[in-house]
């Protein structure tokens, strides 16, 4: 029985790992690697956000604020003050987690969508600070970020490395690194969902009154998952800053927050693998439409509208239901 449970929980993770392993065969040039690396980092952020949206039923309209704060913390700590990458990343995540806790704690005691408004405000405040503190952040023109390094070993998208005797290029190394990060992020999310915390959260999502009647401390669980998702965003923001090598306050902008939420809704709220698909689709769109840039927003809106009308559950859950029905029908026909 335990074996069964493990299998069903980890099946998706194994499939994701296989996809990430096979993918390089289809990646033609370094630019494709870069794109997929970015997708993985963004997808991991969205997996974190999905814990809040899909499981606790709360919406954050300021997640780019946390993402941007992580990115800038890393940029300033490693670039200006010469910290090593890992402590900067960890301390940044702790600071962001603390900010999220301060914001979430009082608000999540209330019922309803007050969190969206509070996060909206926090996101704006962070973006304004990043824009105006010129001496620290470089202002609207942004700031450079050094390469990721651990114990003096630098991971740069332009270097070349030797891993277990195999020569790999920097962009491939980043791809491997980002893939591992994504797998860990997903693994952690899946475990959290199946834990008592996850069950408590789903009960909150289902009916907050019922949950509190059976003794679930709804406020505590909601703020816990809010902090976790903010920490996800901060960690990924730090990695994103290292990978990009340059950040501007646009990473903390409202548009970016909306993009995150859209990825969750498009991919399928509450479906960890669905939101990854959402991130991939929306990250791919600007590149596919590079020659028709003026159509990008039209397509963006159209995709969102069609998903809402025809697949209200999101891309992956709808597709899964569709295919499993067909397979069942096929099996039935053969019998």
């Amino acid at each position: 029985m335990l074996n069964n449970l493990m299998q069903s929980r980890l099946r998706g993770l194994v499939i994701l790992a296989l996809i990430l392993l096979i993918l390089p065969v289809f990646l033609g040039n370094p630019f494709h690697y870069e794109l997929v690396t970015q997708m993985a980092i963004i997808a991991a952020t969205v997996v974190g956000l999905n814990l809040l949206v899909g499981f606790a039923g709360q919406i954050s309209l300021g997640h780019a604020g946390f993402f941007g704060l992580g990115a800038y913390f890393t940029g300033i700590a490693t670039g200006t003050y010469g910290w090593p990458s890992v402590p900067a990343l960890v301390v940044g995540a702790i600071v962001v987690g603390f900010i999220a806790w301060i914001v979430g704690r009082p608000i999540l005691r209330l019922k309803g969508h007050y969190l969206s408004m509070a996060t909206l405000a926090v996101g704006f405040i962070i973006a304004i600070i990043l824009n105006n503190e010129r001496a620290l952040t470089g202002g609207p023109d942004g700031m450079p970020v050094p390469a990721f390094e651990v114990f003096g070993w630098e991971l740069s998208a332009f270097g070349s490395y030797s891993l277990f005797g195999i020569d790999i290029e920097g962009f491939q190394a980043w791809y491997i690194f980002a893939s591992v990060v994504l797998l860990v992020a997903v693994w952690f999310a899946l475990n959290l969902i199946e834990s008592p915390i996850g069950r408590a959260l789903r009960s909150v999502h289902g009916s907050e009154v019922a949950a509190s009647v059976v003794g679930v401390n709804t406020a505590k669980y909601k703020s816990l998952v809010f902090v976790i998702s903010a920490v996800y965003a901060s960690l990924m923001g730090s990695l994103y800053a290292h990978f990009q090598g340059f950040i501007t306050p646009a990473v903390a902008s409202f548009e970016f927050s909306i993009l995150f939420i859209t990825m969750v809704v498009l991919g399928g709220m509450g479906s960890t693998f669905g939101v990854i698909l959402g991130a991939v689709v929306l990250k791919l769109l600007p590149q596919v439409l590079a020659d028709f840039q003026e159509l990008e927003h039209v397509m963006f809106g159209l995709i969102l509208m069609l998903t809402m009308i025809f697949m209200p559950k999101g891309l992956l859950p709808t597709l899964t239901i569709f295919f499993s029905k067909r397979m069942r029908r096929k099996a039935g026909g053969e019998a």
Partner: protein, 385 residues
């Protein structure tokens, strides 16, 4: 059966490959010029004329036989004014399209986001953005065509000094352009021994700057007012300035040097001065001005082709493309290092923006005098010097 199919396919492939090779031997491979610009989005007023200029002159150069006997191929992406997509498109240009040189980056943010990549990939970049950080400190592979905001500040303050002004009030926008301009103005003022007695700011969404201006007016010892900003802010400042009946000499930056600013500000712009490209007053340039012909030609050709008013931003792209072409010709190949060196050694290229004299220490190559000081008289730009 399967084997024969494979064998046949293999033969076909060999024949096709041979054919392709013969074709490429006949027509030399085009020189690839990459570009990422903000053609749509909030900075489209920069990117749109820039792209039009690039398209138009790439066509023209190709009709005239290309460069080094090879045709030019323009590969362009629109970054929508977003720095991270600018970086991604720069990466796509370098790593996927494998361009020989990049002309672009409409905004400072977009350019700076691409700079780490450019430096590591070792592809020459000619930026079309203004701020001084792009070329100071000098970055090996990065060049730019517009004058820096520091030069604008120097030019304005020199003009003030000539009019006997040493104490002035500064009002600036909090956007990228305004805040960078503010920093430069404060530095230049200190160097030139001038005093900024009032220093106020406004944000891009403000619709009334009367409070800030009143603040400046009430500061004792103010002899002139300078506004560093972009977009609609400076037009509002200009109108408020007139409404308050302020009589002090009034300066704007090069950020608003366009005919649309005159329309927005209307009669209240009367008497204000700003540093600008000679492109705004092509016909009043003196006959012995080396730029006169280039400026007049660019204006005539652009307006004939696109049926819309020429803008100084398009001129940055003109200079960028021409510098790239000149460097490739001098280098005799598209070898990145040779092109980079040729760019660094450009001497006396007469462009629309100014006369470029690059050096290993100066990747911009312009001096403050390339700005002309204009004054608004009877609703028109008038060349002062």
């Amino acid at each position: 059966m399967f084997k024969t199919v494979i064998r046949r396919a293999g033969k076909c492939a060999v024949v096709a490959a041979a054919g392709l090779m013969m074709m490429s031997a006949q027509a030399a491979e085009p020189i690839k010029i990459g570009s990422f610009l903000s053609v749509t989005g909030p900075a489209s007023f920069l990117g749109d004329p820039e792209l039009k200029t690039l398209e138009m002159y790439v066509e023209k150069i190709n009709e005239e036989g290309g460069v080094l006997g090879r045709q030019l191929e323009l590969i362009h992406y629109d970054d929508v004014g977003n720095a991270s997509s600018a970086r991604n498109f720069a990466s796509r240009l370098i790593r996927s399209d494998r361009v020989d040189i990049i002309v672009g980056g409409s905004t400072t943010g977009a350019t700076m986001a691409a700079v780490p990549l450019i430096q590591q990939a070792k592809v020459p970049l000619i930026s079309l953005a203004g701020a001084v950080v792009i070329t100071t400190p000098v970055k090996e592979w990065v060049f730019k065509t517009p004058q820096t905001d520091r030069m604008a500040a120097e030019r304005i303050l020199t003009d003030m000094k000539e009019r006997g002004i040493t104490r002035f009030g500064l009002i600036s926008g909090t956007g990228g352009f305004g805040s960078s301009g503010r920093t430069q103005t404060l530095e230049v003022a200190e160097q030139m021994g001038m005093e900024v007695v009032a220093d106020v700011t406004y944000s891009g969404s403000d619709t009334d700057m009367t409070a800030q201006l009143t603040n400046i007016r009430n500061t004792s010892g103010v002899e002139a007012v300078l506004n560093f900003g972009f977009g609609q802010g400076p037009a509002i400042v200009t109108r408020n300035y007139a409404q308050l009946g302020m009589e002090l000499p009034f300066y704007q930056s090069h950020g608003v040097a366009s005919d649309s600013f005159l329309e927005l500000a209307g009669a209240s712009a009367e008497g204000l001065r700003l540093p600008a490209s000679p492109l705004l007053v092509p016909d009043s340039l003196p006959e012995d001005d080396p730029q006169k012909e280039v400026v007049q030609n660019y204006k005539a050709e652009y307006e004939a082709r696109w049926d819309s008013k020429v803008s100084t931003f398009g001129a940055y792209a003109y200079d960028g493309l021409m510098l790239a072409v000149r460097a490739i010709e001098e280098a005799g190949s598209t070898d990145p290092e040779a092109v980079r060196e040729a760019l660094e050694n450009i001497d006396g290229y007469v462009g629309v923006t100014g006369v470029f004299n690059m050096s290993p220490e100066d990747h911009n190559g312009l001096d403050p005098d390339s700005f002309r000081i204009l004054e608004v008289q009877d609703g028109e730009w008038k060349l002062i010097k």
